[in-house]
C-alpha cells in the first residue's frame, strides 16, 4: 500500500531524526511504501532526497528508502506571477468565499468549497501565493472584513491588520500550491491513503487530495494543533482582529479536517473530547497512545538513601514548580531528611531565580536542588524516591508515561491527561493544593511497600499502553480497514458519478499488501484520468469496525480502561477527597488503600 505521510517539520529534518514517531511507524510497517511530504519550517528544497530510517544500516538494500518531498511553509514567498485579469477574478471569487466563511458567522459552510476552489485554481497555474499578497486579494479581504455582517466584536481592522493577515493567510495556504498533486508517481493522487501527523496546515494537502483524487486520509494528533494555536496566539504580537481571523482560519480548517478525515487517532482521550467538540465523529475516532521506545528501558535502580522527591518539567508558571516547593516545605516539616530535585530549564526568564527565592523564603533552600536539564529523562527519575508532577495542565502524556516507566511511584495533579495516564497506579491531587500534594508525597515516602507496588503497577500500565508495537498494529489495521472500505483507484473508475456505486470490501485486504516490489498491480500502471473529480462521499464506516478495534488493539480501547473503571475511579476519588481536605492519611489506612490501587491494575 502506498501511504503518503504528511507532517509539519518545525525544524528541518527533526521529525525524521532518531526516535521520531513517524520513523517508528515507518519502521514498524515495512510492508507498506511510505512517502514523506513535509512542510518544512524554512526554505527547503522541494524535491526527493532519500532519508533512511534509523536502523537502515543493517538492511540498507532491503529498506525501500522513503521519498521525501519538502515544501517551505515559512519564509519568502515562492516566486510566481499574479494571475491575469480573468483568472484573477476567479481567484478573487474563491478567496472571497473563503474569507466570508472565516469572518461571517452565518457563512461558515463556505470554507470547504472556497478552499477547494482555490486549490483547483492553484493547481492549474500556481499563481496562488502571488495572488494572495496582491492588492486585489487585500481589497477582497478588507471589503469582507469591514462589511456589516463580519464578526469584529472587539475592534475594526486597520490597514496594517489587512496586510499582516493577508501575509499570514498566504503562508498558511501555501500547501495548496504545492507540486504534490496529480496521479503521476510521486503525487498524492497516486497514494492509496494519506496519513496526516499533526494536523493544521499539514492536513491541507490531504484535504485537497481527497477532493481531487478521492484519497482517504487518517489524522494523528499528539497534542492538538488547534489548542496549541489558541494558547500560542495569546502571546503573539498581533492585534486582536488578526488573531481572530487567523484563529477562525485554524478552527475552520480543523473542523473541515475532522469532517473529512476517515479515521482520527488522537493521542489521548482528553484530546478526543476536544476533537469531538470540534465536530469529530466519535465512531471514526480511535485513541492511539503515543508509543515510546522507553518501554524497553529497564526500571530505575535502587532508590536513593535520602527520601527524595523528583520534579521534572520546564520551569514556568504553568508547570507550577512553586506548588512543589510549598508542598515540599510541608513534607520537610514531617521528614527533615527529605530532599527535592527539580529537573528542567527555565522557560520564562528569571523564573528559576524566583523559585529559588521562594525556596529561600520557605526555609528549604538547602534541601532543594535545581538540577537543570538531565542527560536523559531516565537519569532524572533515578534520582528520586517519588516523582512529583505539580503542573496546572498536562496536555501530552509522554513525560508522565516516561516517569511511570521508571518504576517510581508518581504523584500528579489531576489535570489534563493525568487521570487517564496515571489512573489507579499513582496518586492524583487537585491542582494548586500544596496540602494535598504534601499529604500524597508523605503517604508514599513513609510506606515503602505501597510505593514499590504503585511503582511497579505504573510501570506495567505504561508498558502496556505506550509500547510501540500496539501503535504499529493499530495503524496496520486502520490502514487495511480504510482501503478496504474505499474503492480502489477511484479516479480510474468508469464514470464514478453515474455508474454503480463502489462497493466497500470489494477487494480483500490482502490485495493491498501484495509485495509490489516484485509484482506491479495492473491497475497502478493504468494511469487514471488526471483530475477527474470524484464524488467523495465516504462510505459510512461500519459500527462493527469501531468496536472491532477496541478488542483487536490493546491500546486503542481507551473507553474500556478509562470510562469503564468506575470502581477504581471511585476509590481514587475517595483518596483524592481525603487528601484535598488536608487530612493526611494515617499510616494505618494507607496500605489497604494502596492495595486497592494495585488490585485495580
Amino acid at each position: 500500500m502506498r501511504v503518503a505521510l504528511l507532517t509539519e517539520g518545525v525544524r528541518p529534518r527533526s521529525p525524521r531524526g532518531a526516535g521520531g514517531w513517524c520513523d517508528r511507524l515507518v519502521d514498524g510497517l515495512r510492508e507498506h511504501d511510505f512517502a514523506w511530504y513535509v512542510l518544512a519550517g524554512t526554505a527547503g528544497t522541494a524535491g526527493t532526497g532519500g532519508t533512511s530510517p534509523t536502523d537502515a544500516g543493517a538492511d540498507a538494500e532491503d529498506a525501500a528508502r522513503p521519498a521525501v518531498h519538502e515544501l517551505a511553509l515559512w519564509g519568502r514567498r515562492p516566486a510566481g506571477r499574479a494571475p491575469g485579469a480573468l483568472r484573477g477574478r476567479q481567484y478573487a471569487a474563491a478567496y472571497d468565499r473563503l474569507v466570508r466563511a472565516l469572518l461571517r458567522p452565518g457563512e461558515r459552510s463556505g470554507f470547504g468549497p472556497g478552499l477547494y476552489r482555490l486549490a483547483e485554481l492553484a493547481r492549474a497555474d500556481g499563481a496562488l501565493p502571488a495572488f494572495l499578497v496582491s492588492d486585489r486579494a487585500r481589497r477582497v479581504l478588507e471589503r469582507v472584513w469591514r462589511s456589516p455582517g463580519a464578526d469584529t466584536s472587539a475592534g475594526q481592522p486597520l490597514v496594517c491588520d489587512v496586510l499582516v493577515a493577508a501575509d499570514l493567510l498566504e503562508q498558511c495556504l501555501r500547501p495548496l500550491s504545492a507540486p504534490w498533486y496529480g496521479t503521476a508517481p510521486g503525487g498524492l493522487g497516486a497514494a492509496d491513503l494519506c496519513h496526516v501527523v499533526g494536523g493544521g496546515p499539514a492536513a491541507l494537502p490531504a484535504l485537497v487530495a481527497k477532493q481531487l483524487h478521492g484519497v482517504p486520509f487518517v489524522v494523528t494528533e499528539h497534542g492538538l494543533h488547534l489548542r496549541e494555536q489558541y494558547l500560542g496566539y495569546r502571546e503573539a504580537p498581533y492585534r486582536w482582529p488578526v488573531r481572530a481571523l487567523l484563529l477562525a482560519f485554524f478552527r475552520a480548517l480543523t473542523e473541515e479536517t475532522y469532517r473529512q478525515a476517515a479515521i482520527l487517532t488522537p493521542g489521548s482521550a482528553h484530546d478526543q473530547q476536544w476533537q469531538r467538540h470540534c465536530g469529530a465523529d466519535p465512531a471514526r475516532t480511535r485513541v492511539v497512545y503515543e508509543g515510546t521506545p522507553a518501554v524497553e528501558r529497564p526500571a530505575a535502580g535502587p532508590e536513593p538513601d535520602a527520601p527524595t522527591l523528583v520534579w521534572a518539567g520546564a520551569l514556568e508558571p504553568g508547570r507550577d514548580p512553586e506548588l512543589a516547593l510549598h508542598a515540599f516545605a510541608r513534607v520537610r516539616a514531617e521528614l527533615p531528611a527529605a530532599r527535592l530535585v527539580l529537573h528542567g530549564e527555565e522557560a520564562v526568564p528569571g523564573y528559576r531565580a524566583h523559585c529559588a527565592a521562594v525556596a529561600e523564603r520557605l526555609g528549604v533552600a538547602d534541601a532543594v536542588e535545581f538540577a537543570g536539564r538531565p542527560r536523559s529523562a531516565a537519569d532524572a527519575w533515578a534520582d528520586g524516591t517519588v516523582v512529583v508532577f505539580s503542573a496546572l495542565s498536562q496536555r501530552r502524556p509522554r513525560l508522565l508515561a516516561d516517569a511511570m516507566l521508571s518504576g517510581r511511584a508518581v504523584v500528579s495533579t489531576d489535570v489534563g491527561v493525568a487521570r487517564e495516564v496515571v489512573g489507579p497506579t499513582g496518586l492524583l491531587v487537585p491542582p494548586r493544593d500544596p496540602q494535598a500534594l504534601a499529604g500524597a508525597c508523605l503517604a508514599l515516602l513513609r510506606d515503602d511497600e505501597r510505593r514499590a507496588r504503585l511503582g511497579l503497577a505504573g510501570r506495567l500500565r505504561a508498558q502496556e499502553r505506550f509500547a510501540v508495537e500496539p501503535v504499529t498494529g493499530a495503524f496496520r489495521e486502520i490502514y487495511l480497514e480504510l482501503v478496504s472500505q474505499w474503492p480502489a483507484f477511484p479516479a480510474a473508475a468508469p464514470d464514478a458519478g453515474a455508474g454503480p456505486r463502489p462497493r466497500p470490501f470489494a477487494r480483500p485486504a490482502e490485495y493491498w499488501i501484495t509485495d509490489r516490489r516484485h509484482t506491479e498491480p495492473p491497475e497502478a500502471a493504468a494511469a487514471p484520468v488526471p483530475g477527474d473529480p470524484v464524488p467523495s462521499d465516504p462510505v459510512p464506516s461500519d459500527p462493527v469496525t469501531a468496536d472491532g478495534t477496541g478488542t483487536g488493539t490493546g491500546n486503542a480501547g481507551s473507553g474500556s480502561t478509562d470510562d469503564g473503571g468506575t470502581a477504581d475511579r471511585a476509590d481514587g476519588a475517595g483518596a483524592l477527597v481525603a487528601l484535598s481536605r488536608g487530612r493526611l492519611p494515617a499510616a494505618g489506612e494507607a496500605p489497604d488503600r494502596a492495595g486497592s490501587f494495585a488490585e485495580a491494575v
Partner: protein, 375 residues
C-alpha cells in the same frame, strides 16, 4: 498568567454564590481577549480547571462553561497598542549623520583628485544605499509563523526545557544578498570617478567641487527624508482604516519629503558657495554686493538646476531602498550616474539626468504610496 493566587483571593473575597462569577473574576482578562469560546476553554484548561470545576459551575464540561463565559463577558481587546520603536527621531538623526559622513569622504577625495562633473555625487549613491539596504530590517509585518504545531513525536526530554522558538520569517525588507552587490557597485563607481575628468578651468572646478561637497552632505538629509517618510507611512498604517484612506493620507507626504530634502540641499549648496567665496573670491575685477549676493551669483543658473536634479537623483533611490525596493533603487542610482555622466556636454547631461529623475519619480509615486512599502 493573570490567574495567580491573588486573583483566586479576589474570587473568594467576592463571596457571591455564583461559582461562574468567581471563575469569571479570576479569568477576566482571558475572557475579554478571547476570540471565541474555544480559546477560553483552552485557557481555563491551561489554568488547571477541569471537569470538576465545570461541574461546580453546573456545566457538563469545560466547553459549555467557556461558552457561558464568552457570552457573559464583553470583548475588550487590550487598549494599549504596542507603540513604535521609541527614539525614532534620534535614530533618524544618527542615520542621517552617518550617511552624510559616509558620502562626504569619498566625494571629497574624488573632488581633490579633480573631477569636473557632479557625477561624483551620483557615484556616491550606492554608498548611501549600502547602509540603507543593510539596515532596513523592518520591525512591522508578519514577524513569525506561529502556527507550528506540537512536534509529531519527540522524546519526553523535550518538555524539560523551553519550547524552541519558531523560526522567524525574514522581514520583507531585509534582502541581504543586495549588500555585496551594492558594495561592488559603489566601489566600481568610485574607481571610475577619477577618470571622469572634465575641468575646463580652475574656477569652474572650484565651484563644482563646492557644489558636489554640499550635495554629498545632503545625502544625510536624503536618508533622513527616506526614514521619515517610512516612519510616517508606518504611523498611517496603524491609523488608517482602509487601503483607500491610507493612499489618500500618504498622497501629500512624498512631495513634502522631496521638498524638505531639496530645501536642505539648497541651503547646503548656498553655504558651500559662501564659504568658497569667502576663502577664494572670484578672480577678476571686484564686484559689488555682500558675501551672500556673491555666493548666490557664483554658480550659474544651469549649475543650480543641475544641483536640484542631483538632489532628486539622490533622494529617490534612497527612498526606494528604504521602502523595500532595493533593486529598483540600485537601478535608479546607476541610471542616474549613467544619464548624467555619459553625455559629453553639460546641457545634455542635464537632460539625461532630468529624464532619469522623471522616470524615477513616475515609478516611485505609485510604488511608494502602497501600504506594503512601509512594512
Amino acid at each position: 498568567m493573570a490567574a495567580g493566587g491573588g486573583a483566586a483571593a479576589v474570587g473568594l473575597a467576592n463571596g457571591s454564590g455564583d461559582p461562574v462569577r468567581e471563575v469569571m473574576a479570576e479569568h477576566r482578562v482571558l475572557c475579554e481577549r478571547a476570540v471565541d469560546p474555544l480559546e477560553i476553554a483552552a485557557g481555563l484548561a491551561e489554568a488547571g480547571l477541569g471537569p470538576a470545576a465545570a461541574a461546580r459551575c453546573r456545566h457538563a464540561d469545560l466547553f459549555s462553561l467557556a461558552e457561558e463565559l464568552y457570552a457573559r463577558v464583553p470583548r475588550r481587546p487590550p487598549s494599549a497598542e504596542p507603540a513604535g520603536p521609541a527614539g525614532g527621531g534620534r535614530a533618524r538623526r544618527g542615520a542621517a549623520l552617518r550617511t552624510a559622513g559616509l558620502a562626504v569622504l569619498p566625494c571629497a577625495a574624488a573632488a581633490a583628485l579633480g573631477a569636473g562633473r557632479p557625477v561624483l555625487l551620483v557615484a556616491a549613491v550606492p554608498l548611501v544605499l549600502v547602509p540603507a539596504a543593510a539596515g532596513s530590517t523592518g520591525a512591522g509585518g508578519a514577524a513569525a509563523a506561529p502556527w507550528a504545531g506540537p512536534g509529531p513525536g519527540e522524546g519526553p526530554e523535550a518538555e524539560l526545557g523551553p519550547v524552541a522558538p519558531c523560526a522567524p520569517t525574514p522581514p520583507a525588507g531585509a534582502r541581504r544578498w543586495w549588500d555585496p552587490a551594492l558594495r561592488g557597485a559603489g566601489l566600481a563607481a568610485l574607481l571610475l570617478v577619477p577618470l571622469a575628468v572634465a575641468a575646463d578651468g580652475p574656477e569652474e572646478r572650484r565651484v563644482t567641487a563646492a557644489l558636489v561637497l554640499a550635495a554629498a552632505l545632503s545625502t544625510g538629509s536624503a536618508e533622513w527624508a527616506a526614514r521619515w517618510y517610512r516612519h510616517v507611512g508606518r504611523g498611517h498604517l496603524g491609523a488608517a482604516a482602509t487601503l483607500a484612506e491610507f493612499r489618500s493620507r500618504m498622497r501629500p507626504v512624498l512631495p513634502v519629503a522631496l521638498a524638505l530634502h531639496l530645501a536642505v540641499l539648497a541651503v547646503l549648496s548656498f553655504a558651500a558657495l559662501a564659504v568658497l567665496t569667502a576663502l577664494a573670491p572670484r578672480p577678476g575685477p571686484a564686484h559689488g554686493g555682500g558675501l551672500l549676493h556673491l555666493a548666490a551669483e557664483r554658480a550659474e543658473p544651469w549649475q543650480w538646476a543641475a544641483q536640484g536634479l542631483l538632489g532628486l537623483l539622490l533622494v529617490l533611490p534612497v527612498l526606494l531602498a528604504r521602502c523595500g525596493r532595493p533593486g529598483a533603487a540600485a537601478l535608479g542610482a546607476l541610471a542616474g550616474a549613467a544619464g548624467t555622466a555619459a553625455p559629453p556636454a553639460p546641457s545634455a547631461g542635464l537632460l539625461g539626468g532630468g529624464a532619469v529623475a522623471l522616470a524615477l519619480l513616475l515609478y516611485a509615486w505609485p510604488v511608494l504610496g502602497r501600504p506594503d512599502a512601509h512594512r
